[in-house]
């Protein structure tokens, strides 16, 4: 059995962030990074750009062999976790290797959740979660003229835009009443949907897919409205679910994902979890939830790594905050924190500025003098500063007028004075 | 000052004790000489400075701003590996005292002439041994010379004694201000090659050094009640005492070797003069011994069975040699050129009293104090000393101390 001090399963943002924290204090302790993927680390977020051809697979790797050599990282690809034996502090990999660890981080991420649509399993379809998915989809574009995208979330929207940019006729089907729920309210979503329509994307919002079937080389989907859509490509982007199958019947506590405390530790000694696989506390509700937010994965990975190395500078995870930056057709949509006041107490202050002509939108939510959320389209603010204003519950009362009229400069002023 | 060419140095010259000392320094080849003038030492450092200026001595001359720095620069140089020399006396010595007392504790083999001068105060610029006698418990080796030739020879020997690995201690060669410093006589100069051979390579900082090639801490805080503190301190003190005791043997061996090489013989510790059949003896130290010996000769001619004991090495105190000598006589009179205020006698007398305690039979002794502040101790004085000392044998005791010059 091989031995390693630190074993990290997964190699995307949470894993790399944890690695970074560990190497801050322990430059020499043996560290092994295992991933089921065959590639050097990359981010799932970049995959739509691989699909469109804007980015090339070899250009988007987050770390390379030189980095691993410099940082004394034993990088094992093509071998995800198969089983976990918490009594022996050991794992088996899909390649048959057995590894004993002193500290284990589970950052195995999430995989596409495939909806139970009748006929779908017999229908050729694509997903977009791995580099191989993206490369396959990019290759399929050569012959494809049309595509249907199931799901109006971030991946689906990104994919749709990138497909239409290379000349593919695209339809988006979203069963919920708006795109990008959770990040933008209906009004903002409307602006985004409108832009897609103007750019030639067919939007089928509020439509449920009730069936799928092969159609020649392509696919045919049936909607609850009775409509049928045929396309050369079927892309399923209906969300993701944490990869936790290797924990089945084991003692590590899971719900939707792996349950962790505010140091990203699981209920089992010497095991941590971070990123999309982890179910960590939410900043607003205090409840534990899963969420595929990249900056949150980075933050969780950082805290997990610090906890694994007993870094005295560690601060507990403040809780997940919805964060999103979304560029579409040259526009920028950004949201930090809560975007829908309907979920908030009645006395929440709401400032809304919408200019449909200019295609600008901005909403600021303030409760008890603190920023609860800010979202905007083609408006200007620094999301990193806003995130800190939310987390640190900075009192905005003295500068509220200025903040509502100019969140950018006021935010910078507050930052410079408060935590510069 | 003789203006002898380097290539043709005279075998003998006529000079005073200060110049003889300068010649000894030139022959001993120190790396550094630090100087600061003070009467009656000044001409000594002037000679040395001129020798260095003339290239006779290849040494660094450090003419510093006071005796305190004189000894301090020698500490630094010696810790770096240099063979070093200086000379002082009187108030200069008192001013030097702080680094002076530190020298033997660091086991630095520095050689220094004390051109003895009487103490302050009253203000006095003349000879006397009060300054040198104040140094008794500082842990330096102290050798007192009788003649100009002995000044020269002893000073060369001093380097060998100081650097001997069984000793590693600083040495004072004391020569009396006025009488030896300015007394002119003929002296023989040893051959340079023979002196080189006699002294060998300098060996000054093998045991303690300020040298980046051998980094060490020099004189860290030692003692206190912490673990190992008392025992470490005691080991330093024991080592110092052992070095002093070793010095008695090394001084003796060095004088024997000197005699073999250069043909001049000196008693290394205690000199006995006409003592073999003597009933009593006078005890002297330094330059007065010559006059004392003459007085003994005169008394002998008059039938007195008197001899003379000269203390040459005063530190370490040659207890065993002195005890052996004292057993040969039945009464003594000790002539001092300085004062022990506490004991109301001369310091040499005071110390010899301690030696007398170790004799099987008690013998009477008188303390004479003379030659203070440049005054002479004449044959007449010694005649009084001899008479009073001898009278003790008949039970005619004299109350100590006897102030020889009190009516002059």
């Amino acid at each position: 059995m091989e031995q390693t001090k630190y074993l990290i399963a997964g190699c995307s943002h949470a894993a790399l962030s944890a690695l970074n924290s560990i190497r801050m204090l322990d430059q020499d302790g043996s560290l092994t990074l295992v991933t089921k993927d065959d590639h050097l680390p990359y981010s799932p977020t970049v995959l739509p750009y691989i699909v469109s051809g804007q980015s090339k697979p070899e250009k988007v790797k987050l770390r390379d062999d030189e980095f691993f050599a410099q940082n004394k990282v034993n990088f094992i690809s093509g071998a995800g976790l198969s089983t976990l034996d918490v009594d022996n502090n050991s794992v088996t990999l899909q390649n048959g290797q057995e590894w004993q660890y002193e500290k284990l981080l589970l950052a195995t991420g999430a995989a596409p959740a495939i909806p139970p649509i009748p006929g779908l399993t017999d229908t050729p379809y694509h997903v977009l979660r791995t580099m191989d998915d993206a490369v396959n989809l990019h290759a399929a574009l050569e012959s494809a003229k049309s595509a249907v995208v199931l799901g109006g979330g971030l991946i689906g929207m990104h994919a749709a835009e990138n497909l239409i940019k290379v000349g593919v006729q695209v339809t988006i089907v979203e069963m919920r009443p708006q795109v990008l729920p959770g990040y933008f309210d209906a009004e903002a979503a409307k602006i985004i949907e409108q832009t897609f329509i103007e750019n030639g994307v067919a939007m089928r919002i509020g439509n449920t897919v009730v069936g799928a079937a092969p159609d020649g080389e392509g696919a045919k989907v049936s909607l609850d409205s009775g409509d049928e859509i045929t396309a050369d490509l079927l892309l399923v982007c209906t969300g993701v679910a944490p990869v936790i199958s290797y924990l089945e019947d084991g003692p590590v506590e899971t719900d939707q994902g792996i349950l962790v405390n505010d140091c990203m530790a699981t209920n089992i000694a010497n095991i941590w979890a971070a990123g999309d696989v982890a179910q960590a506390v939410n900043f607003y509700s205090g409840e534990k939830s899963v969420g595929g937010i990249l900056p949150a994965a980075v933050e969780q990975g950082r805290i997990a790594g610090m906890s694994m190395i007993n870094d005295p500078a560690i601060n507990p995870y403040p809780g997940g905050v919805p964060l999103n930056t979304y560029g579409f057709f040259g526009n920028q949509a950004i949201s930090v924190g809560v975007s829908d006041e309907n979920a908030l107490p009645k006395d929440t202050e709401v400032l809304l500025n919408v200019n449909e002509e200019e295609m600008t939108y901005q909403k600021i939510l303030i409760g008890e003098g603190c920023l609860l959320g800010i979202s905007g389209i083609n408006t200007d603010f620094d999301p990193g500063i806003m995130w800190q204003l939310v987390l640190q519950r900075v009192d905005l009362e003295p500068v509220k007028e200025e903040f509502l009229s100019n969140p950018t400069d006021t935010g910078r002023d507050l930052m410079s004075r408060t935590w510069r | 000052m003789p203006d002898a060419a380097l290539t043709n140095e005279p075998k003998s010259i006529v000079c005073d004790g200060n110049e003889a000392a300068a010649w000894a320094v030139s022959l001993a080849k120190p790396d550094m000489v630090a100087v600061y003038p003070i009467t009656p030492q000044s001409s000594l450092v002037e000679y040395v400075s001129q020798f260095i200026a003339d290239g006779k001595i290849d040494a660094d001359l450090m003419d510093v701003e006071g005796e305190h720095s004189v000894m301090s620069v020698l500490h630094g140089a010696c810790l770096a590996g240099a063979r070093t020399y200086t000379a002082t006396c009187g108030p200069g010595l008192y001013y030097m005292f702080e680094p002076y007392v530190r020298t033997p504790g660091m086991r630095l083999p520095i050689v220094m002439s004390v051109v003895t001068r009487d103490g302050l105060t009253p203000q006095s610029v003349w000879g006397g041994q009060q300054d040198a006698m104040m140094l008794r418990e500082t842990g330096w080796i102290q050798i007192y010379c009788e003649s100009v030739q002995e000044v020269l020879d002893s000073l060369i020997m001093a380097f060998r004694i100081a650097e001997h690995r069984d000793v590693m201690l600083p040495v004072n060669i004391c020569h009396d201000g006025n009488y030896l410093s300015y007394g002119v006589t003929k002296v023989f100069l040893p051959e340079q090659e023979m002196v080189d051979d006699f002294l060998g390579d300098k060996d000054t900082n093998w045991h303690v050094a300020l040298d980046p090639d051998r980094p060490m801490s020099v004189d860290p805080l030692t003692g206190g009640e912490g673990p190992g503190g008392p025992s470490t301190f005691v080991r330093y003190r024991q080592g110092h005492c052992a070095g002093m005791q070793n010095a008695l043997r090394v001084i003796t061996e060095t004088h024997e070797e000197w005699e073999r090489k250069f043909g001049r013989c000196y008693a290394p510790l205690i000199e006995e003069y006409r003592l073999d059949d003597a009933d009593y003896a006078i005890v002297t130290i330094g330059s007065m011994s010559g006059a004392g010996k003459d007085a003994v000769d005169v008394a002998r001619e008059q039938g007195q069975k008197v001899g003379l004991i000269r203390v040459k090495t005063f530190r370490p105190f040659p207890m065993e040699a002195l005890r052996n000598t004292l057993t040969k006589v039945k009464a003594i009179g000790v002539v001092d050129r300085s004062v022990s205020f506490a004991w109301n006698c001369g310091p040499v007398f005071q110390e010899i009293q301690a030696a007398l305690y170790q004799l099987k039979e008690r013998i009477p002794a008188i303390s004479f104090i003379g030659g203070l502040a440049g005054s002479d101790i004449t044959g007449e004085h010694f005649a009084r000393v001899i008479e009073a000392t001898g009278n003790q044998l008949a039970g005619d005791m004299t109350e100590s101390p006897v102030w020889l010059n009190e009516n002059e």
């Binding site: 990193g384 | 510093v64 301090s72 500490h75 240099a82 040298d211 980046p212």
Partner: protein, 452 residues
């Protein structure tokens, strides 16, 4: 990691909000004068009138923008310290801007991309353009790195009082000088903290010794002369307190300076005999409480001004004389380099003001603040002097803060009455005037000032 980098420092008190930096940055990076393209942003402060705040990339050591980037377009260059942005790899997702809490990487709508400061390859245009000195390219990291790579020549665990910065001083000084040196630490705080060691155990890796309080310069001079004689170039260093320098050790130092003995003599001035219980020294300042100038019914601290030792040393044939304060380490390092060069020719004297948290009754965490305020109020002046170059101030004495701002920081001045305060104010002014006069008479800078 373990490596520091130079930074652009912002001195808010000097910024008048002119915005020239933003115009210049936009010009340098985008070829337009439109400040929308500026990578640093000066914003007016809402809290205070006529005050300005700054948003600028910090080139973080552990940058979150890099960890957030999904496309590999942001990296941390550990060599230069800069976080460069690669436009080719960027997919304009803006996730980097979420990671940055400083507004350091921002979306430039006009360009359609994010933008951030790249430090102009170590020669930032904004700094050069700033007319008030509010922006400074601080090279201290570079200096600290250089020092960090040098070997620490003292043992760990020297027992200096909490908050005392003398340990920092001696460690950094000896790192720079290296092991081919002989170090004298006469009785005082530096020896007391264990540099020479105890009971047969040493406190350093280099030859180190206790001289007497009185003979530091002489012992070093003797050792140096001998090394010169045998052709070895060994540096002599004194790390002495003010008692061992201005009082008991003064004569040997004076003599060594007059003779041009080659050494670096550093006086670490904590204005009294602090190691032995905070007694008055010749360097104790007027009005100070010490244990021998106590405060009572009739006495109210020291009744004389301190001996102005560095000025005295200027008159001593030294090759180099300078004052320093550890709140200005860059300044000290420069002077140390010059002093080391000068010590090869003769006496180099550095006088370092070193507040004593224990004896001055200041909180241990405020030592550096006391150092800084001493200089900013002109209580301590920073200057250097070389015979050929005259006197030059290395920190301006213009527009000092009121000296009370310095005095109020130390308990040893707590009892001062108005008359004492006036005395100190006058004496500070006199000292500065004297130095200015000396500067005008001796240096090129002074000659220029006179010509104007």
């Amino acid at each position: 990691m373990g490596h520091s980098h130079n930074t652009i420092a912002f001195h808010q008190d000097k910024c008048d909000g002119c915005g020239e930096c933003m115009t210049v940055c936009a010009g340098a990076k985008s070829g337009t004068a439109d400040t929308l393209h500026s990578r640093l942003k000066i914003v007016p402060s809402i809290a205070a009138n006529d005050s300005f705040e700054l948003a600028l990339c910090r080139q973080c050591g552990d940058p979150k923008c890099v960890l957030n980037c999904p496309s590999g377009s942001l990296t941390k260059n550990h060599k230069t310290g800069v976080v460069p942005w690669d436009a080719e790899k960027c997919v304009d997702c803006l996730l980097c801007t979420v990671g940055c809490a400083y507004g350091g990487i921002t979306y430039n709508a006009a360009a359609g991309h994010v933008m951030k400061c790249d430090m102009c390859d170590g020669d930032p245009a904004c700094v050069k353009s700033c007319p008030t000195g509010a922006l400074e390219y601080n090279r201290s990291a570079e200096i600290y790195n250089n020092y960090g790579e040098l070997e620490d020549l003292f043992v760990p665990g020297l027992a200096a009082c909490q908050g005392c910065n003398s340990e920092l001083l001696i460690r950094h000084t000896m790192r720079k000088i290296g092991s081919n040196a002989v170090v004298a630490t006469p009785p005082g705080c530096i020896a007391g903290m264990g540099t020479v060691g105890f009971n047969g155990k040493t406190g350093s890796k280099i030859p180190v010794f206790h001289p007497l309080l009185t003979n530091t310069a002489s012992m070093l001079a003797g050792a140096k002369r001998y090394y010169n004689r045998i052709g070895r170039d060994v540096t002599m260093v004194a790390l002495a307190g003010d008692g061992g320098t201005v009082d008991a050790g003064f004569q040997s130092l004076s003599g060594a300076a007059e003779r041009g003995e080659q050494m670096l003599y550093i006086c670490v001035d904590n204005e009294g005999y602090m190691n032995t219980g905070m007694q008055r020294s010749g360097s104790t300042s007027f009005g100070s409480w010490t244990s021998t100038t106590p405060v009572g019914e009739t006495l109210h601290g020291k009744t004389q001004d301190a001996k102005n030792m560095p000025v005295i040393m200027m008159m001593h044939n030294c090759e180099y004389v300078a004052t320093a304060s550890l709140a200005f380490m860059d300044d000290y390092y420069e002077k140390l380099d010059k002093a080391l060069a000068a010590a090869k020719r003769g006496m180099a004297y550095l006088h370092v003001y070193s507040p004593c948290p224990t004896g001055w009754r200041i909180p241990s965490e405020s030592t550096n603040e006391v150092c800084r305020k001493a200089v900013e109020t002109n209580f301590v002046t920073l200057w250097e002097f070389a015979p050929d170059e005259g006197l030059r101030f290395t920190h301006s004495t213009d527009d000092p803060l009121p000296v009370e701002e310095y005095l109020n920081l130390s308990g040893k001045y707590r009892h001062l009455d108005d008359a004492q305060l006036t005395h100190i104010e006058n004496s500070v002014e006199r000292k500065v005037a004297f130095l200015n006069g000396f500067m005008l008479a001796t240096s090129d800078d002074g000659a220029e000032s006179l010509a104007q």
